[in-house]
Subunit: 185 residues, 2 copies
DNA sequence: GTCTATATTGGGATAGAC
DNA sequence: GTCTATCCCAATATAGAC
């Protein structure tokens, strides 16, 4: 019982993040008020503000790990010299990330209008996407290759639709789909 | 002059729709205020309200033709008995619809959070999507077929990325991509 | 058909008590 | 660390003059 204050702080802070993530995904960022977040958690608005100075700061805190994970994926892929192997790595790790997307903001991160409006976030995501494209197809991808890549980059939508599948079956299905799209381009 | 009130009415009403469409696409529905729409058009909020009783009514008016066009596409496809021919028809008309998406709400219609929250709209789109799936793959599609279909249903994202292409090149690229995804499933 | 003016609600955000 | 109370502003929507 000695650490109460700091422990309580961490717990509440995490609760804000978890609640906000759920609500952002369900209603969208703009339609999720701090009042709603606070009510859902069972605390007051002021308490939420104690942990995050603005609403957008909550989103940034949520998105940071996702962006970081994306960057690490690409770093790892960059270290693979064999082309086929690298593509395979990119595909499987990408599918992994998408499959576990419930626990991240991935499905919303591209589609919620806030992302387009938030320069810092949108630029970060755009840069990572471009980097992934180059790692897949080299510095001068054909139009067909670009199309294939951008199509796959939106796998989150498929994920949502196949939510009755087990994680393993979903993974297998998506990997095969990606392989077909990418390898044929 | 001979500019009747009715003509003026039609003109202003259309201006509201055009302006709203542009702004909804750019900022998202929730972040687009009637004030912004009115200011952009150079009229007052009250004038906008003269034509649409609520903000959501503007969205509904915008979405109606898109939904209608989608339904007609499926009706036409239903009349084609040959399986391969029907799939080909679905693909090409779908690509057509996506390519001309600037003039519709297609790119936003799936992704803006308002769609998920608006029951009438979301149900209509969901029903049409399911119908398309059946027309493509019959009444009992495999998981792989479903995945392929849902992936393709989100073609709007690819469209946005390839905006430097001519319409014809874009069309060709997308049709080939769709064929590969669908036929291989 | 378009305007000015206003009602009303809810949003993000802060001050200060406990 | 959490609360109550409040500020300020922007949003949707309406009333009534021209």
């Amino acid at each position: 019982m000695a650490v109460t204050r700091a422990a309580q702080a961490e717990k509440t802070r995490q609760a804000v993040l978890d609640t906000a993530r759920r609500l952002f995904l369900e209603h969208g960022f703009d339609a999720t008020s701090l009042q709603l977040i606070a009510d859902t958690m069972g605390v007051t608005k002021a308490n939420v503000y104690y942990y995050f100075r603005t609403k957008i700061a909550i989103l940034e805190a949520l998105l940071a790990p996702t962006v970081e994970a994306l960057a690490e994926r690409l770093d790892a892929a960059e270290r693979i010299t064999d082309r086929d192997e690298r593509v395979e790595h990119l595909i499987t790790t990408w599918v992994d990330q998408v499959v576990t997307a419930y626990r991240t903001l991935a499905p919303m991160s591209r589609h919620d209008p806030i992302v387009r409006r938030h320069e810092k976030i949108s630029r970060a995501l755009a840069e990572l996407s471009e980097r992934g494209l180059r790692l897949m197809f080299g510095s001068d991808p054909t139009v067909s290759q670009q199309a294939a890549y951008w199509l796959i980059s939106d796998l989150g939508v498929v994920n949502r639709r196949l939510d009755t599948l087990s994680d393993d079956d979903l993974r297998t299905t998506l990997v095969e789909l990606c392989r077909r799209v990418i390898r044929g381009a």
